[in-house]
Amino acid sequence: MSNARPPALGRSVARGFSPFGGERAAALVPHARLAGPMPWVIAIMVALTVIAAAGGLSLSNLAREARAELAGGATVQIVVAVPQERERQAQAAQQVLQGHPAVASLRRVSDAELDRLLEPWLGVGGELDTVPVPALIDLRLRGPADRATLTALQQALLETAPGARIDAQSGWLAPVFSAIAALQWLALALVVLLAATAAAAVWLAARSALGTNRETIEIVHLLGGTDSQIARIFQRAVGFDATLGGTIGLVLGLAGVLVLGRQFAALGAGLMTGAGLDRIDWVVLALVPLAAVAIAMLTARLTVLSALRKML
């Protein structure tokens, strides 16, 4: 060791309160990165959140499409046991309805179509001849299928087709809409719960990292490091882990959504055609990992600041 006069330091070096950040600051806290649990916990949370959010969004789309589809729809049933009389009333009803101002268009449901619809219950073989099945007319109305319009149509049919009964299509599907709404709430609750679980996991990880690096934190604290500087070190580390985990989680989640989407699309059910995701929905799903990173960094910051406030 030199016995010479020490180098005149400090005063000649520009010092201040500029942020202590970047790689050098991050190096104060050693990181396990992918070898540690944090990125994987966040990846799983993000993947599950993406799938839950995609489910909620597609249910919302499905409900919206179905409502729009059914809002102006009504069905006329000609409930008459004698086939000839049923056919007569059906044709008379078509004539009356075609001239009615509330009706935009109509379509008589063919016997072949009815056969197909009833096939799961009555079997193959044209049981329409032996079982009295009502004749069906599918109506598109100019306005919504509200009670006043339906009553007016019923009145118009009363004389020429007394066996006619008219119902709004949305009324049949009310329990389905109710179930869809419940599923939407469930998806939202899942997203909130997963966000809370992710925050709790980050809190535990930050507490653990604080415990592991307590000695280093105390040293930086005693060297004049501010709470914000120290919190920023942890925030950056957690932010990096969350970004890594979020990216992995997004890829896994989107893969899951695509696979599920194909499975449901293959069902070919009429109701499911409206359950796709549009461009904004995909953007929302892409924002999930960003939200996870923000939650993780905020949680880490608050956890570290709270622990530091216990020191002088």
Binding site: S12, F17, P19, E215, L222
Partner: protein, 244 residues
């Protein structure tokens, strides 16, 4: 209580107790002026480390008043304390080096915390490592350094920012007498630049090595000051930095 702007530290009737135990420091009063050199002595358990913790702002006293650089640091909001800590250099008894950082990064730490740019940092840190004879070990982690080398890294870290006050807790406790003397000369050199130095030691031989030094003797938490020279020391003659 008034404190002259030249006073680095002023303690008035300071007491410290941990929890409900008896006081480890009682009625401690003294004044430190810039550029003075103090040895803090006393038997083990006399309260040396507790007094140093108060000096380097790791602990608030249970009672009494402490002023540092003209400011009451007891009532000072917590968020303003880092600015005061940056005026201090501390050599901890157990060195307290960051284990996963190299000797270079450990010495650079106070400058980085103070916001010194990376471009301005390499030269002073290398100079300092050279000065303590460790330029060849600058990439070594603390675990691979000997006790004496770790101590020199800790000292380099404490003095790199040219602190207004250096506080050292048993800085020669882990080294041989020859190295202890070298470290003492290092503190003296820093003191000649105007830094107030407080060295806690139980090595009585060390006290004689710095002729101009003052001795603060703690006994069971009380500061021996029969003449009042520690509480009301003569104001030192102002001298130019770097002269003696």
């Amino acid at each position: 209580m008034t404190a002259g702007p030249e006073e680095v530290v002023r303690f008035d009737n300071v007491g410290l107790r941990y929890g409900a135990d008896r006081e480890v420091l009682s009625n401690v009063s003294f004044t430190l002026y810039p550029g003075s050199f103090y040895f803090l002595t006393g038997a083990s358990g006399a309260g040396k480390t507790s007094l140093l913790r108060l000096l380097y702002l790791d602990q608030r006293p249970s009672r009494g008043a402490i002023r540092m650089f003209g400011t009451d640091v007891i009532t000072l909001p917590r968020k303003r304390l880092p600015a005061f800590r940056r005026k201090l250099g501390v050599v901890f008894q157990d060195f307290r080096l960051v284990p996963h950082l190299s000797a270079f990064d450990n010495v650079a730490l106070p400058l980085r915390v103070s916001g010194v740019r990376e471009a301005d940092l390499a030269t002073p840190v290398n100079d300092m490592l050279d000065w303590v004879g460790l330029s060849h070990r600058k990439d070594a982690r603390p675990a691979t350094l000997s006790g004496g080398e770790q101590q020199r890294v800790a000292i380099a870290r404490a003095v790199i920012g040219r602190p207004d006050m250096l506080v050292a807790d048993e800085p020669t406790g882990n080294v041989d007498p020859e190295m202890a003397l070298k470290l003492l000369r290092l503190f003296e050199a820093l003191n000649r630049l105007g830094t107030t130095v407080v060295v806690a030691t139980h090595d009585v031989h060390l006290l004689r090595k710095v002729p101009d030094s003052l001795i603060m003797r703690l006994d069971k938490g009380q500061l021996a000051d029969p003449t009042g020279a520690l509480r009301y020391p003569p104001r030192p003659v102002r001298r130019e930095p770097g002269t003696r």
